[in-house]
């Protein structure tokens, strides 16, 4: 039986005023919060645990368990920080969600804050998306005005302030400890752990850091029950998630579906390949930091376990689809340029390794590689993976090693033929039929 889409967070994105409080309230908005405020915080944590919700920010850590790690209340402040930095190449779920229906997040923030005993929550938004920042500010304003945030929320005596903070545009600031440093006004670089944020996070106080989608999923879970949520998805990867299709499909976009759906199903829903005459060549299951897959993996269930069993990661469900006109060497080279640019510089393997990888890849891209280069790439990756300070460095190796694994011969071509000869760029265009090669 084919998997069905489950539009929950994406349900009313097509409403002409989808982002307003009114629209949200017309769609069960803030009912969950009202219910939560009548409950014991501990029961809310338990609910999150029972639902099986796993972090939607990439690592898939059980959300309820994370909340449970906070030490007992000592009277001092504790914080919820929402990671809205979304900067992974290919990942585009949090930004559209905050654009289209920001109140899911804000209601989720209120419920989570109440559950963990937080009176001041922060949303750290990627700096470049000014439009999202504005929309969030407006939504927060609306929520204050309606008494969902601020002092004595809904007459329960519970106070919560929400600060929306715009970062300055650094991928590393999505790493939760670098995010906390950045939020504190320092340079965003990952912190040494322990102490973990649960013990000493923002301003050295107990802190929960969660992804936008994780937190936005809380209101529906509360309203419909953890069983409702757990019934979706697979045994260990429960619930629904937003799958972001980009690249060579007919209708790129966000497809909200239970975990465990396959790419074959998703491509069907997305109207097939952009050019039906071109075959799928490779794709990322969860953004550029997850090892690529090929057409052999069309039927791998997109849940944490199945993807891992095939040697990749579900990550952020960022499905970037590349058809056969694309040079994998060139694609990997672009990704590595990104990591080289975004490496924070703190640790040697990532800082120097990405610098080196980028140069080797550029040579291969231009047909100037040497036969040693391919093994060298793999060995450099071996010296980065698991040796870096944080996961950025690890992630940088994923595209390289997986591409060499599946497409080694294409790297060999890079030892003599430039990419534009092996993969003429006009073949990737939609108008290529009529294009003529000028002064060839």
């Amino acid at each position: 039986m084919a998997t069905q889409l489950t539009p929950i967070l994406t349900k009313f994105w097509d409403h002409p005023q989808s982002w307003t409080l009114a629209t949200y309230e017309d769609n069960e908005g803030y009912q969950a919060l009202k219910q939560a405020l009548t409950m014991e915080p501990a029961d809310l944590v338990q609910m999150a645990k029972d639902s099986g919700l796993r972090g939607r920010g990439g690592a898939g850590f059980p959300t309820g368990m994370k909340w449970g790690f906070l030490p007992p209340d000592d009277g001092g402040p504790r914080y919820l920080v929402v990671n809205a930095d979304e900067s992974e190449p290919g990942t585009c779920k949090d930004i559209p969600l905050m654009m289209a229906a920001p109140h899911f997040l804000i209601e989720g923030v209120a419920i989570t804050s109440f559950a963990i005993g937080c009176n001041h929550a922060f949303i750290y938004v990627r700096g470049e998306v000014v439009h999202v920042y504005r929309r969030l500010l407006r939504a927060v304003e609306e929520a204050y005005a309606a008494g969902y945030l601020g002092k004595d929320i809904q007459g329960t005596g519970y106070d919560l302030d929400v600060t929306v903070h715009a970062g300055a545009g650094a991928y590393i600031c999505g790493e939760e400890t670098a995010l906390l440093d950045s939020l504190e006004g320092r340079r965003g670089q990952p912190r040494l752990k322990p102490p973990f944020p649960a013990v000493a996070g923002l301003y050295a106080r107990p802190t929960v850091v969660n992804n936008v989608e994780s937190i936005a999923s809380i209101p529906p879970i509360l309203l419909h029950g953890s069983d409702w949520f757990a019934d979706m998805g697979t045994e260990k990867s429960q619930g629904f998630g937003i799958f972001s299709l980009s690249g060579h499909v007919k209708y790129p976009g966000q497809y909200e579906a239970p975990l465990g759906i396959t790419l074959r199903e998703l491509i069907d829903m997305a109207g097939g390949m952009r050019d039906p005459s071109k075959k799928l060549k490779f794709w990322t299951p969860g953004g550029s930091s997850t090892p690529i897959f090929t057409d052999r993996h069309l039927d791998v269930p997109l849940d944490f376990e199945s993807v891992a069993a095939e040697g990749s990661m579900l990550g952020t469900r960022a499905l970037q689809i590349f058809d056969e006109t694309v040079s994998v060497v060139r694609a990997v080279s672009r990704w590595i340029d990104f990591y080289k640019h975004e490496s924070c510089g703190k640790c040697t393997p990532c800082r120097e390794g990405t610098w080196w990888l980028a140069q080797v890849l550029e040579r291969l891209e231009h047909g100037k590689g040497t036969p040693e280069d391919i093994d060298k790439l793999v060995d450099i990756c071996d010296n980065i993976l698991g040796r870096s300070f944080c996961a950025l460095g690890d992630g940088a190796t994923s595209p390289v090693t997986s591409a060499v694994k599946y497409f080694r011969e294409e790297f060999e071509v890079g030892c003599h033929t430039p990419w534009w000869e092996a993969f003429p760029p006009e073949a990737s265009t939609l108008f290529n039929q009529r294009s003529v090669k000028v002064n060839a």
Partner: protein, 825 residues
């Protein structure tokens, strides 16, 4: 007789030990030990760059990766999936660590990191100062691949850039270990450099608006594991393998830092901090590191000289000594020893006075001083050592409360400052300072100011001790200090400047007593503590023996095999000696290493002019123009001896350079010979044997002071219109002659300025940026003003900085000066 102290905090608490294996070898180390340190215990060296025992771990370079397996809850030892940084991971019971010696994974990881580190390193070792002593070079050999596979383009930068006038940065050599930035931020508290930019373009950056103003910047050069940071003075001067190193001790202050003097062909090329955990740990200050050129200047005395027809002319030693002896024999003579000489030399000066000149007129205090201070030193300081229960550096590390009075640690004893900062950071030590203004130094100690105008310190101390009243008693700071002092074990640190505040030293001792704490005296000059214990005070003989005590006198006379009785009455102090000499009551002066202007005594010049002056010195000084005989002596780097640091801890040093220059004690013994007296100070061995023969005697407390009430403070002067009370102390880098000849160091000295409160400024219509002229007592200086919260109607200026010499006024606590807006008309 000897007082033993039980002030150490009872039994040491049990340390919990953790057993683990490293490369199959068992080791047991205290809980919370880092794996890399535990390995060191076994003699296993894991390569590292960012790790430094004096800095908080960062785990940035990833050079120290090892394989680790840990027992799970059931006790099954499970390997961790990735290699771990041994410099950030603490030990755990049953942990199994495999280093590069037994693990192929760890070895490969280390070689991989090393290769990556060299990707963007210029490998310009042949022209790099660090070449030959470079951790990167060494570890690339021991833990790296034989050759690199990198054949692409390295990152390059224009080189070098100046971080300060004395520290230069070659960015392309930097491996971004963050040692320098962590040192500056954590240890020194001067975060003027930071890592900036991202990825391989990350680099050490400076703040454009603020200079790298730190007295400790040289340490960054020393701990930089590559040649990225270099000192301007040493850059390109020599190769490490051409240097000969001599272990020594710094002569610049009473902190007592261990130094390594590196020299080549008879010339000192550089000095480095040498690790001494009990004293300076691994650090020193920039003055100690870089101010060593003064003996190499061309005004160095090479030959003895005597004055003929008003001119000093070189003569033979024989002749010079004969002229000196004749001159001294003909009259009553006294001895002035600067606080700069080693204690063996100081001992010889004292012995010369007593034995050859028959006088107790001898004093090491070439600075403002008082009779009260002398009594305080005799009762509370002489004989105080780590063994006799004196305050130590280690005590500062763990102190709950430290009160500073008349003492600005960052300027006057930099390593005491570093220790206090460490105490503040690691042990939450509360620091209070009785001073007129909150300095940046106090700020870095997280300290609290107990505001007090110069001269009111006694009042504040008495009020803190619970008696007396003070108008400051109501403040929050004062209340906090009172609360903090309720915890027993407070330490009061008094500086030499307190000498001139009546009653203050006694009040400090009383405060310590009332708080069940201890007091320590921290002089500025390196030789003062040693000179005190060597008996170069009018009332003190060596080893704390008292001139006034018959038994003590006999003990010393016997030790010295004196043929006649030692002079029985306590002698004159520096001020009295100068006064007497200026009116001809004293006709001869033996002066060793004194800058007469440092004493700040009105009669100083007249005294020298009238007296027959025998000057022992290395270079032309303020005494030289008055000298009748000049006897050249060896500078620090050319002599052997020892200092006592402020703790009373012996700090022996050896001569780095082997020259013909003679130490003071030898010259004095020759002079004594000429006077017909055998001084027995021909060699260090002779002197030390004598000094060691005296049984140590702990401070006697209030033995001579029991009579009478505590001295009451003088009333504080109330300045009239246009007047202010002067507060002043020396900055670490100033016009001191032992900093001569080092322009790069001088370039980082703080520019002199007059600091006053907004209220004071307003009464004179002074606004930020104005120049002010401060005058009084024949002194007149013009400097820019700096306005900050501080005690009103007090103006602070440095004592002896460029174009700001207030030494003539520094001796009067609470001197009133006239302050006018604008430059001197």
């Amino acid at each position: 007789m000897t007082v033993t102290s039980d002030k150490s905090s009872g039994e040491a608490p049990e340390v919990e030990m953790v057993a683990l294996t490293i490369d199959g070898l068992e080791v047991s180390v205290p809980k919370d030990t880092l794996v890399i340190r535990a390995a060191e215990q076994l003699g296993i060296q894991i390569p590292r760059f960012c790790d430094h025992p004096g800095l908080d771990p960062v785990g940035a370079c990833r050079q120290c990766l090892v394989e680790v397996a840990m027992p799970d809850r059931e006790g099954n030892v499970k390997p961790m999936p990735k290699p771990q940084a041994s410099c950030t991971m603490t030990v755990a019971p049953g942990m199994e660590v495999k280093t590069q010696l037994t693990s192929a994974v760890a070895d490969k990881a280390q070689q991989g990191v090393m290769e990556l580190l060299l990707v963007n390193h210029p490998l310009d070792c042949p022209v790099c100062d660090k070449g030959g002593e470079c951790p990167l070079q060494n570890q690339a050999m021991s833990n790296g691949r034989a050759s690199s596979r990198f054949e692409d383009v390295k990152r390059t930068y224009p080189k070098p850039i100046n971080i300060s006038s004395q520290v230069l940065l070659d960015r392309e050599r930097c491996i971004l270990c963050a040692r320098c930035t962590r040192f500056s931020d954590q240890v020194a508290g001067d975060p003027f450099i930071a890592l900036v930019e991202r990825g391989a373009l990350q680099q050490v950056g400076i703040y454009e608006e603020q200079p790298f103003e730190s007295y400790f910047s040289g340490n960054t050069v020393q701990i930089c594991p590559v040649g990225a940071l270099t000192g301007a003075a040493y850059r390109f001067r020599s190769r490490p393998f051409d240097l000969v190193s001599t272990a020594s001790v710094c002569e610049h202050c009473a902190s007592g830092c261990s130094l390594r003097v590196d020299h080549r062909r008879g010339k000192v090329m550089r000095r480095m901090a040498l690790a001494t955990p009990e004293v300076n740990e691994e650090w020193n200050c920039d003055k100690g590191r870089w101010a060593f050129t003064y003996p190499m200047l061309d005004d160095r005395f090479e030959l003895p000289m005597v004055r003929r027809d008003g001119e000093l002319v070189p003569v033979s030693w024989q002749e010079a000594l004969a002229v000196a002896a004749d001159g001294l024999r003909a009259t009553r003579s006294a001895v002035l020893v600067g606080g700069r000489v080693g204690r063996e030399d100081a001992y010889a000066y004292g012995k010369l006075a007593r034995l050859a000149l028959g006088t107790n007129d001898v004093d090491f205090r070439a600075r403002p001083h008082s009779a009260e201070e002398e009594r305080y030193l005799a009762e509370h300081v002489v004989g105080s050592t780590p063994e006799t229960g004196g305050v130590t550096y280690a005590d500062l590390d763990t102190a709950t409360t430290v009160v500073l009075v008349g003492f600005e640690p960052e300027e006057e004893s930099p390593i005491v400052f570093l220790r206090l900062r460490k105490a503040y950071r690691k042990a939450a030590t509360k620091v209070f300072s009785i001073a007129p203004l909150e300095t940046r130094g106090l700020d870095k100690l997280g300290g609290t100011l107990l505001p007090s105008a110069p001269g009111t310190e006694t009042e504040v101390l008495q009020a803190l001790a619970g008696d007396g009243t003070s108008e400051h008693m109501g403040s929050d700071a004062f209340a906090a200090a009172r609360t903090a002092l309720r915890d027993p074990g407070a330490i009061v640190l008094v500086g030499e400047r307190l000498a001139t505040v009546p009653g203050a030293l006694a009040a400090a001792a009383d405060l310590a007593r009332s708080a069940s704490g201890r007091v320590a005296w921290v002089p500025r000059r390196a030789g003062e503590r040693g000179a005190l214990d060597a008996g170069t005070l009018p009332s003190l003989l060596p080893g704390g023996r008292l001139v006034a005590d018959q038994a003590d006198r006999s003990e010393i006379a016997e030790l010295w095999q004196a043929e006649t009785e030692l002079p029985t009455t306590p002698g004159r102090d520096t001020a009295a000696i100068l006064e007497s000499a200026s009116i001809g009551e004293i006709g001869g002066l033996v002066v060793g290493g004194v800058d007469v202007d440092d004493i700040g005594h009105a009669d100083g010049h007249e005294a020298l002019r009238r007296a027959f002056v025998v000057s022992l010195d290395l270079r032309e000084s303020t005494v030289t123009p008055f000298a009748d005989v000049v006897l050249p002596v060896a500078p620090h780097d050319e002599s052997e001896g020892s200092f006592l640091d402020w703790e009373g801890r012996p700090r022996p040093y050896r001569a780095a350079l082997d020259t013909t220059a003679m130490a003071d004690h030898r010259v004095l013994s020759m002079l004594a010979d000429e006077l017909g007296v055998f001084l027995g100070t021909r060699s260090l061995r002779e002197v030390r044997a004598e000094m060691d023969a005296l049984a140590p005697r702990a401070p006697q407390g209030g033995r001579t002071d029991d009579a009478g009430d505590p001295p009451s403070p003088v009333s504080v002067p109330s300045p009239g219109p246009g007047e202010m009370v002067l507060a002043t102390w020396r900055t670490l880098l100033d016009r001191g002659t032992m900093q001569d000849g080092e322009p790069f160091l001088a370039g980082t000295a703080k520019a002199p300025r007059a600091v006053m409160s907004p209220v004071s400024a307003e009464t004179l219509s002074i606004v930020p940026g104005d120049l002010v002229t401060v005058s009084g007592g024949g002194v007149r200086v013009t400097v820019p003003v700096h306005i900050q919260p501080m005690v009103d109607h007090v103006v602070w200026l440095p004592t002896n900085s460029e174009s700001c010499d207030l030494r003539a006024l520094a001796g009067q606590a609470g001197a009133v000066v006239t302050v006018t807006k604008g430059g001197a008309a």
